[in-house]
Symmetry: D2
Subunit: 331 residues, 4 copies
């Protein structure tokens, strides 16, 4: 299989490296318009075949990974699908849900696979949380709270929600497949230019669950923490920890009857904490493997265009909401 990588900026080199390491991949192509980037790849990965011409690269490859600004995903992806290539698209999948739908239909018609790079789904920590969620250990999830803040690179074309929230939204969708988001509210501020650098995103579900996402490009400290409140146990995922990334708390609050709701009668359960070992394999390498395997087995990859669309729908709604100071937007 021959693979082409479009866009060799921040993320592209990681894609080159990981596709090179896939046994199924015999040749890797790279495409970008900037000489500096092409030269960088040349020096680090001499075996890569480089070009400035996307059409030409498309002719030579079986699959293409698109790592360009989100506004350009649709055209590059459509072009690749029209030429019969399976595609890998960086997150967020597309700039609008309509673009996503069009790509999904096009891929279905031609039986081509679309992989959306929700990388976190392939991390050991998230897979461990999925295991805990699916085996019923944490019970019903009552709330999902995510914080992703640091001194981060501003994007010139999108706000902090489009830049950071897709990671956490994809994790939410993965862990809560049965909870349907029904409405979104987003608040925040753009301190420096028209795009928000601080934002808070609330997601309402069709059941007794609630999710919140705090993203910030201008925090002096780096925080990457997720709290998942189950009615049996609760999980804290701290991605800044080297080893103990996942902590499972056998803690909660038991309330059987409304009468019991007052200080004296609330029953706390504070038990042991357990931090399961988490696999360290590089997520991107597992993702590339899943993409290739899905193609060979002619099935949808674990992180596919439907997941990508689900995330884009929330981002769209958040965009409308935040422009109206948190107006509720139905999905």
């Amino acid at each position: 299989m021959k693979a082409g990588i479009l866009g060799l900026g921040y993320w592209g080199p990681n894609l080159i490296r990981n596709f090179l390491s896939q046994s199924e991949v015999e040749k890797v192509y790279g495409c970008d318009l900037q000489d500096s980037r092409l030269n960088f790849i040349k020096s680090k990965f001499p075996s890569t075949i480089l070009t400035k011409d996307y059409d030409e690269m498309l002719k030579n490859v079986d699959v293409v990974a698109i790592a360009t600004p989100v506004a350009t995903h649709f055209n590059f992806a459509k072009q690749a699908l029209l030429m019969g290539k399976h595609i890998w698209v960086e997150k967020p999948f597309t700039a609008t849900s309509q673009e996503a739908v069009e790509l999904i239909e096009l891929a279905e018609k031609r039986n081509l696979k679309i992989f959306v790079d929700h990388t976190f789904i392939y991390t050991g920590a998230v897979r461990k949380m999925k295991e805990l969620a699916d085996n019923g250990e944490i019970g019903d999830i009552k709330y999902f709270d995510s914080v992703r803040v640091n001194l981060g690179l501003f994007q010139h074309d999108v706000n902090v929600i489009w830049d950071l929230a897709p990671h956490d939204l994809s994790i939410m969708g993965y862990l809560l497949p049965n909870n349907k988001p029904i409405a979104v509210a987003a608040n925040g501020i753009a301190n420096f230019y028209e795009h928000e650098n601080v934002a808070h995103l609330s997601v309402y579900f069709n059941n007794n669950c609630f999710a919140h996402f705090h993203v910030n490009w201008t925090s002096p400290v780096k925080i990457r923490r997720m709290i998942i409140g189950g009615d049996k146990k609760m999980i804290v995922f701290n991605d800044m920890e080297n080893l103990e990334k996942i902590k499972v708390y056998d803690s909660g609050i038991n309330i059987s009857k409304r009468e019991e709701i007052h200080e004296a009668l609330v029953q706390y359960r504070i038990g042991d904490m357990h931090s399961p070992k988490v696999i360290q394999t590089e997520a991107l390498s597992l993702g590339a493997n899943e993409f290739i395997t899905a193609i060979n087995e002619n099935r949808q990859p674990l992180t596919n265009a439907v997941d990508g669309l689900a995330v884009v729908k929330i981002l769209e709604a958040a965009e409308e909401s935040i422009k109206h100071r948190g107006k509720i937007v139905e999905i």
Copy 2:
């Protein structure tokens, strides 16, 4: 001066202890309807004069501290003022802003002082932050982010915002006296009964600043952290730290022109971190002293009814907003 404490439940004993330790206070009275509480105070603070009759206590004291459920604050406070007593009221000041206004007017007419117990204003950490904010060291505050979550006692009469947010709202008002809150949006969920146990409160200002408050009674981990993003420096206040509660980061983002907003040109400044020593004196004792001093000097105390009203206005707006999934509510 003789002081009376009404309500000897969770917080009352702390008030008894701290008023007893004030040199200006010659006698301390306590009032509650529950025998168990009266007996507890008797054994721990034998010199306290105890009664079940509020009227009787009022007759004997010069000042009264009201530590009862918020719904009852207004009547007890009004009664005290009508009898010419200075009052201390626990947070939140009143159940409605209208009640607060009425008490303020009543106190003014009779030249009586109202102290609202926004205790955190008297902590060494908050006073240090005030110092940093006032001396211009952190510059213009761009955002104010507060998290106060743990496995907390449910209140039977109010939701988690009314219970926990007053602490942080009073700190915000203290540090940002010139930023006028103009609108509020609140989101959250009531997983267990009609009052929300998880909530997110956004506050919009009349300038380029934004504040957010995350409160949760059902978090497996206890987090008490505030981030104050100034355009010169940023402060992180971690109240779970024993010693290094305040950290000042000489970090930020410099953007002179809109053109500069793209990855290549954003200028980060990551400098030293400084953790100033913070005074450890018990806040409640300093508060009691301020109350007494303000009375003797016939001036408003540092945390007065106007501050209490400002907090209640936001709580009222938050209540309306959260019942309508984050509808923006002007203040």
Copy 3:
């Protein structure tokens, strides 16, 4: 039962409070020479009967707790035993092992009980470690490493080993009842006066185990950590943590044959971490209860004079060793 507390300085008030809270204790006496201390107890615990005369107090009580400088323990203890009183002695038990032996013999003759206040043995954390050690979960203990450092109060009569190490030595003896210390080496420095403020104590055993204790009165940070290296699992006890004090690591190194000792073949096992819930009851209260119960059941208390002697033997050897720059001293 009537209890008398001798020495009302730093620790005495805690003894007064905890003996007062024992249902079996009908009356508590206090004895000290300083008026300031007597007045302090009078105001905080009005029901205490106070005196400056030890003999007089001894006449009135059934048991006496001795909380004076270690050099004075022997005489006060002997006097009490001669008057037929059961005794509680603060750690370290005595200034010399010979004193300890004499008190043990005297108590045996008169069937009196000696409780040595190795308080940590009654903490939830240490009891949990004992449970893990006894049920075989951690396997054979290969090493025991303890650090107890902070900016601490200098003792004018003893060095930092005598002041801080008894806590950790008593824990070691409790967790390793079958490992006999055979020799001791101690190194350190006295930067400020003749007694060492920084010290390192090594303990050799009669088997393949080793223990080390690091104590320091002049550390800018407070560290209270113990690592117990078992060949099945390892425990880290961090007493500075509020909740997760005990962490059990399912980690280790497996080496079957000497040939396998080189980088390529060492087999690491890094598994889950588990932090068991630890009981929060005040240790001193459980200690007081154990003392009283042991007397009533006419048995030796859990922390008795034999344990106290074992600790004093190591302290004596450490004293000799540190004065000779770590000379090995057999026990």
Copy 4:
């Protein structure tokens, strides 16, 4: 300048990469006996010229870096010096101080430079501590305490002291150039084979200062912490921190007269904490640059053979001491 790297195992590839990145270096050679290692370098650094023949490599290069087991350093180094090559030797410099002396004399005769790779000296954190030590900010250093423990790779030829302590011993020598070590005592245990896996090293100086080094290959947690107790300020260097590696505590103990040594009169000073920004440049790259610059300027490099000898002397003494349960060994 042409550079050759001997030994392409664990550390060798880092040397290849960093010498390749030096502008002064036109060609890099690599030498090892194992094909797997040669192939690995070939694939990652195609421009490297590889060989199994050390003599041949020596003929082609101007400088050689020796990254082989310590027992072999001497012969390889001597051979290179005899052929007129400047040498870079990994830590520890040699297996005996006598070997070190011989190499030093040989290099002097031929005016060749010896660089000993005490990498930590080139880290931003250590350079910052050096700055603080030299500008007098921390005052006289009273003690130096180092902990370097984790689940580490066993060395088949040396114990944990020879493997881990050289890092910390070189830092000590760098920060305390005027404190002469006069004696050493080492304690520990070999739980698995003849070489110790847990060890404690005490260093006595010719003045009122003391140093201790705790090294352990079998700790479930990774700790890399150094405390430097100055009489003005104290430094804590936590190498596990990503950003705040260095914390300077304006804390200490003031004692003017011997009489003052008792609880009541010890004067604590607990002030602010300051965490200076630390440069992130890769230490090894700065080391390579220093090596080349020293050669060009015909001067001794910052980390030279004399420093290497000083470390080896302590290691030798520690080896003798630990085999005799901490016997003091003069240097």
